[in-house]
């Protein structure tokens, strides 16, 4: 049995395990695709979507504020950090919503709790809760499957709906007979069998092209975003992906134009743009959301960085965006306006944004979107952001 027929055999045999509907290979390039990019570490929204027009900005950030000439102007209040310059094109194309003063619905400055809230989509830390992307897979109708383009399975995708994982491999291929025998062994293990089968199926979908040396970490997020495009643009493949990007916990020396944070932003923008290009025709139905667990302190700390804060920034990118806007109920940076006197005050709930993005991408009703975020019926989706 050659590799391909082996894999097909495995797929069909595994349908029940994966929870795929029986008729599931008829998806066309018109079907929606969704990518959730999680910036782990708490990225500094005020240094990414810069409120240069806020009267308090310069005094608050002091030697840490951007020169206006370095920024990519979006509105007369907000500009993008220089590293995000590649996004100018999506802004001009009416494919970018910059989100600001946004936060998860629970006040914490803990990475762990913050990520748990963002990834489970509920409003308090609950140890056992499913990820919200997994809940989306459970709720939405039609062809769907999810994949983590990440180191291990992120919380956002965990849950009863079986999903796959993929990360760049630098290893040689193995032969089919060996995998076939291993599969026999895995059949005896209730916990691992479904996962092993999913791995083999995924291997076939993405192919075995080795990634450029070093893979994800050295090249920023671009290789991962390119792999995500390769997986998502196929018909019949996964249409929901989670990608993660670490390194945003900038407690010291985060810098300005060309500095440490700006370079990371550059990698993020490059990855997003590479994804957009590589999606080809399928981009027309694709939505990318970029979020982080919390923003950072409004003022710099004592070591030219920022500590854990509250509200921050994020993005929705894709042609399903109604028009390019900065979506924020801007609380201002005046000391009295700051949350607990130190952080940007949250005025926008992450769930409001996520509901709008998934509803537009997958034609969900508001009631369906509400079910993805239990206990959130009081949080209205920002549906007007999407076309």
């Amino acid at each position: 049995m050659n590799r391909r027929t082996f894999v097909r055999h495995m797929c069909l045999g595994g349908i029940a395990t994966f929870g795929f509907p029986v008729v599931n290979f008829a998806q066309t390039s018109r079907g929606g695709r969704f990518v959730f990019v999680l910036l782990r570490g708490g990225f500094d929204g005020l240094a990414a979507v810069v409120p240069y027009g806020d009267p308090s900005y310069r005094s608050l950030r002091a030697g840490f504020s951007y020169d206006e000439s370095d920024l990519i102007e979006l509105t007369d209040t907000f500009g993008l950090a220089p590293g995000l310059a590649p996004l100018r094109e999506v802004w001009q194309n009416n494919e970018l919503v910059a989100l600001h003063a946004m936060a998860i619905p629970y006040r914490t400055r803990s990475h762990f709790d913050g990520q748990a809230i963002l990834e489970t989509g509920i409003d308090k830390p609950v140890g056992s809760s499913d990820g919200w992307l997994n809940r989306l897979l459970q709720v939405m109708p039609g062809q769907r499957s999810g994949i983590a383009i990440a180191s291990g399975m992120p919380r956002s995708l965990t849950g009863p709906y079986e999903v796959q994982t993929w990360s760049p491999s630098q290893l040689g291929a193995v032969n089919d007979a060996y995998l076939d025998r291993l599969s026999t062994l895995y059949r005896t293990d209730k916990v691992l069998y479904g996962r092993f089968e999913a791995a083999i199926q995924q291997q076939d979908l993405i192919g075995e092209e080795p990634m450029a040396g070093g893979g994800a970490r050295r090249g920023g997020i671009t290789p991962l975003m390119q792999a995500a495009a390769k997986i998502l643009r196929q018909n019949g493949g996964p249409n929901i992906a989670a990608v993660e990007f670490s390194g945003w916990d900038t407690h010291a020396n985060q810098g300005l134009a060309g500095g440490a944070l700006d370079r990371l932003l550059g990698q993020l923008a490059e990855g997003l743009m590479a994804f957009r290009t590589d999606m080809g025709d399928a981009w027309a139905n694709t939505t990318v959301v970029v979020m982080t667990e919390f923003g950072r302190t409004a003022r710099p700390n004592g070591t030219r960085g920022t500590d854990h804060g509250t509200a921050g920034a994020g993005f929705i990118i894709g042609p399903k965006v109604a028009k390019s806007v900065v979506h924020a109920d801007w609380p201002g940076l005046d000391t009295r306006a700051l949350f607990e006197g130190r952080d940007l005050k949250p005025t926008l709930d992450t769930r409001s944004v996520l509901k709008a993005a998934i509803a537009a991408t997958f034609d969900l009703t508001p009631a369906q979107a509400d079910r993805v975020f239990p206990g959130s019926t009081g949080v209205r989706g920002a549906y007007e952001l999407m076309g």
Binding site: L185, T188, F196
Partner: protein, 484 residues
Amino acid sequence: MNATLRALNGFGLGARAGEQRRIGDPRGWLRAQLQGDAPVLRAPADASPDAIADAVRAFRTVGQVGVTARTEPEERRQARQQARRALVGIAAAESRAALTARVTAERPFVERLVAFWSNHLCISVGAKILVAPFAGSYEREAIRPHVLGRFEDMLLASAMHPAMLVYLDNFQSVGPTSVGARAARGRGQGGQQARGLNENYARELLELHTLGVDGGYTQQDVQELAKILTGWTVAGLARAQQQMGPVGNRRPARGRMAQASIDERLGFSFQELRHEPGAKTVLGVRYGEAGIEEGQRVIRALTRHPSTARFLATKLVAHFVSDEPPASAVERIARVYRDTDGDLRAVSAALVELPDAWTAHARKFRTPQDWLVAVVRAFDAPEAGAASMPLLRQLRHPIWSPQAPKGFGDTTQEWADPDSLLNRAELARTIARRMRAQRIDPRILVEVVDVPAGDPLHTLLADNTIAPDERIALALAGPAFQWR
């Protein structure tokens, strides 16, 4: 449940071929390992204190990339790269020695405890280049001597070690109204040059090292704790061309002070000038101004907090018993911790006595490091090969390199994703091929993990039509070997 394999794999680091038959009393075998001090691990030749100091000094002399990077002479760029390579080289030698200690351990339970506590109070060499030269000494000197001692001594050693001080930024945290900060402001060095509080370490000390995120502390406690810890820094780390004088003062860099400071002995230093003066209150307890002693007191108090007992007990039971730690077992371990004021020898012994640790439900998915160490131990190899490090990177579990201060997880959910299983399948094949020359009988591998009678692995391993190295790979990549 095979109790001997549970002891060898669940508490230890992986059975060696034939070892199962040599152990009569699994619990007794574990108890005996807890007698005496933890084995000492000597610094590798390339990582002596002198070698570390030299490499750090060389790095300080050539500096880091500055604003002038574009116009920098090639020679200087190369010197800087060489200095960085030396720092990374120390970490590489250290991590290989640490892995070899696990592979060759005769008291593998103790060695697992070293790895557990080292990960609990983790540092990360990927985070900052200056963590790298200290990472090995951190585990050898701050963690290892205390795994059978007191948690408070371990935590203090961690708090005072350059690796932790650099990793979580405390080395540069300065009291906003400290003498040094006021002097710097007086000299007009405001704005970017002024240094102040950095609360990174204080927060993780509460959230990750002691109380746990629900342990009952506030943002106010984080800030007060950060103030208490100002002045806890590392001597001999500032860049040669950017000495801090007292604080933020660059001028003496060209004078005699700079020379004195570059010869400064590398290591922990409490600098009164940076310490925030006055009383501070953490968790309702007032700490009067007492310099370095404030920090020592508050750290000892944190280790005695009931939330710390519960947090550490939960993590330990989850590590040794199951991803879902039974509440009764957690309570039992927390009580031993409280009753003994954090005596980790007593706590470790209590883990062995937990009935929950000896049931069929007690099993853990092997992390990549666990898996690799178990593979090497199964063949009784004398050391961790040079290929181990890239291999662990490929499996996303390099030594001392977690992505966040929470450390690496140890649950099935975190490690048993589809992609990782396939990675192990491919690596097992590569490892087995490399071992071809050793003509190992594949059947020894059913003795080192729990393979029930009737499992297809028995048939496959005896199947002479399959190449022996492929059979070895099947055993290493098959499901039985993934659990401990």
